[in-house]
């Protein structure tokens, strides 16, 4: 308990400093905000053109697709706002700053997480929060308290899953010379799942994004559950928190072994 408390205090102190560092670059701040909006805008244009031409994607109506994308954005932004630095282990090792983490009597994990905060991710959160109800309204669906509770559970679990996947890929740096390419593969995968229902990519892909790299739990399964789709069995969708827990466990294990490996090779 004492440890958690002091850990949180440390995190707060680190974050405060990180923010002061960010505020040094005021021009960048505004530029980034505009840029993120543009990028999201581009995605929305894509979705709109497709929906305008084809009306629907399989059994998924435009409203459904908006909810799907919105769910992804919200979960993903939990990673990108608070845990972004976890995906940058390679950079830290190459630049030599990783050694500094090991030279201070504070958990390296905490130093890493506290080392960055990506305010631009908040645009994603915001957009997601707008898109989900918009999609629901287009469908004419209304959520009760029960659905809203599930929504919160899904988003939080999705956040954990996103963080863990990015973290695990980044940890590969401890074993291979470049985790970068692995990350590229992952990007290709989530670029597909973020906007489109997994079902259109066939059973093999679905196994991949459910069992191996469970990005489908960020938005697909929650959307199936919340929108009452028939793409997946009900019970499978509720596994989201379990997947999050399992991944968190694996991450903790891999991180420990990675540090040990770093201790014996020195990067």
């Amino acid at each position: 308990m004492q440890e958690i408390k002091s850990g949180l205090k440390m995190y707060g102190a680190l974050l405060k400093m990180t923010l002061r560092g960010i505020l040094q670059y005021r021009v960048d701040f505004w530029m980034s905000l505009v840029s993120v909006c543009l990028l999201n805008g581009a995605n929305i244009v894509q979705l709109s053109v497709i929906s305008w031409r084809f009306h629907a994607l399989g059994s998924w109506q435009v409203g459904d697709l908006l909810v799907l994308y919105g769910l992804f954005l919200i979960s993903w932004s939990i990673f990108s706002v608070f845990f972004f630095k976890l995906s940058k282990i390679e950079d830290e090792i190459v630049s030599g700053s990783f050694d500094a983490y090991l030279l201070r009597p504070v958990r390296p994990f905490l130093q890493l997480v506290g080392g960055d905060i990506k305010y631009t991710g908040l645009c994603d959160t915001l957009l997601g929060v707008v898109l989900v109800p918009m999609g629901l309204a287009m469908n004419g669906t209304h959520w009760g308290l029960w659905q809203i509770l599930w929504f919160v559970v899904f988003v939080l679990s999705g956040g954990v899953i996103a963080v863990c996947i990015k973290f695990l890929i980044s940890c590969a740096t401890f074993w291979t010379t470049k985790a970068n390419a692995l990350n590229q593969v992952f990007i290709q995968i989530y670029l597909l799942t973020q906007k489109y229902p997994v079902t259109i990519f066939g059973p093999a892909f679905r196994v991949l994004v459910t069992g191996l790299v469970p990005v489908a739990y960020l938005n697909f399964y929650p959307a199936v559950f919340l929108l009452g789709k028939s793409d997946a069995p009900f019970w499978m969708c509720t596994l989201s928190p379990v997947v999050a827990l399992v991944l968190a466990g694996i991450s903790a294990l891999v991180w420990r072994r990675g540090l040990r490996r770093y201790n014996s090779c020195g990067g």
Partner: protein, 268 residues
């Protein structure tokens, strides 16, 4: 007190293949070669000593420093620093040591120096009064005040090393490891760094182990040198002893060091 017994470190390095189908071969079966960075070294450093650790680039200096500070785990052998095993009693050990790598800073790049010092205070849980006293002393001795409120990225190299030194000493470590602290720093700043290290050693009894290529560092700063060549210690003793063994009474230290770097030294 630092004791090192039969310390070894071996690295495994991926070998890029040669020949026509090297790329494909490397895909199927990667080749590794082993390199002995540190090959069974022993030494003891008593409290309050200033020891120079010298040797050619790649002789194993930095690897030793990294093992002593707990970043690297030895392949074999024993290390004890202040009664602790660095990589096992990590947290405890880190509170007792300060480390500066001259080549790279451990401070936060984008924030003013003072902010870095403040966060280190939190990390090492330094008491307010102690922190204040240290800050005053180091600001005075290292002349930090002109750049205390500047972000690290704007500092000159000399200023940066001074800030790094202050940061490494804020928590009153018993032992200080310095990896090439004077590299690239101008003559005046070097002199100041040397004075500071001597002062800290004398006033607070901090044990210092430093690596350097600077002959003046060796002559003015250290009371004892340990010479490492190809992973093995080939000399351990006073500067006078080094002179007597490799060059004779009035030999030029620079020439001696060059000989050692090139061929492990010529004994007379």
């Amino acid at each position: 007190m630092i004791t090192v017994k039969n310390l070894q470190k071996m690295y495994k390095i991926a070998k890029p293949g040669e020949g026509r189908f090297a790329t494909l071969k490397a895909l199927v079966r990667p080749q590794y070669e082993e390199r002995r960075a540190v090959d069974g070294i022993d030494f003891t450093i008593s409290d309050g000593e200033i020891v120079g650790y010298i040797g050619q680039n790649g002789a194993g200096k930095s690897t030793t420093i990294k093992m002593l500070s707990g970043i690297l785990v030895p392949t074999a052998g024993d290390i004890k620093v202040n009664g602790l095993i660095p990589h096992k009693d990590r947290k405890e050990h880190l509170r007792n040591i300060g480390v500066v790598f001259g080549q790279k800073t451990s401070l936060w790049w984008d924030v003013p120096v003072i902010d870095s010092l403040n966060i280190l205070k939190e990390m090492y849980q330094v008491e307010d009064s102690r922190f204040k006293k240290n800050l005053e002393m180091f600001t005075d001795l290292l002349d930090l005040s002109p750049f205390l409120n500047q972000p690290v990225r704007q500092l000159s190299l000399g200023q940066r090393v001074r800030a790094d030194l202050a940061a490494a000493l804020m928590h009153d470590p018993k032992t200080l490891f310095l990896d090439e602290p004077t590299i690239g720093v101008d003559v005046v700043a070097k002199e100041r760094l040397r004075e500071f290290i001597t002062e800290i050693n004398r006033e607070r009894g901090v044990t210092v182990l430093l690596t350097t290529h600077d002959v003046v560092d060796m002559e003015k700063l250290v009371s004892r040198v340990i010479v490492i060549h190809a992973g093995k210690i080939i000399f351990d003793g006073s500067m006078q002893g080094l002179r007597e063994r490799y060059g004779g009474e009035d030999a030029d230290i620079e020439a001696i060091v060059r000989d050692i770097y090139q061929e492990g030294g010529r004994t007379v």
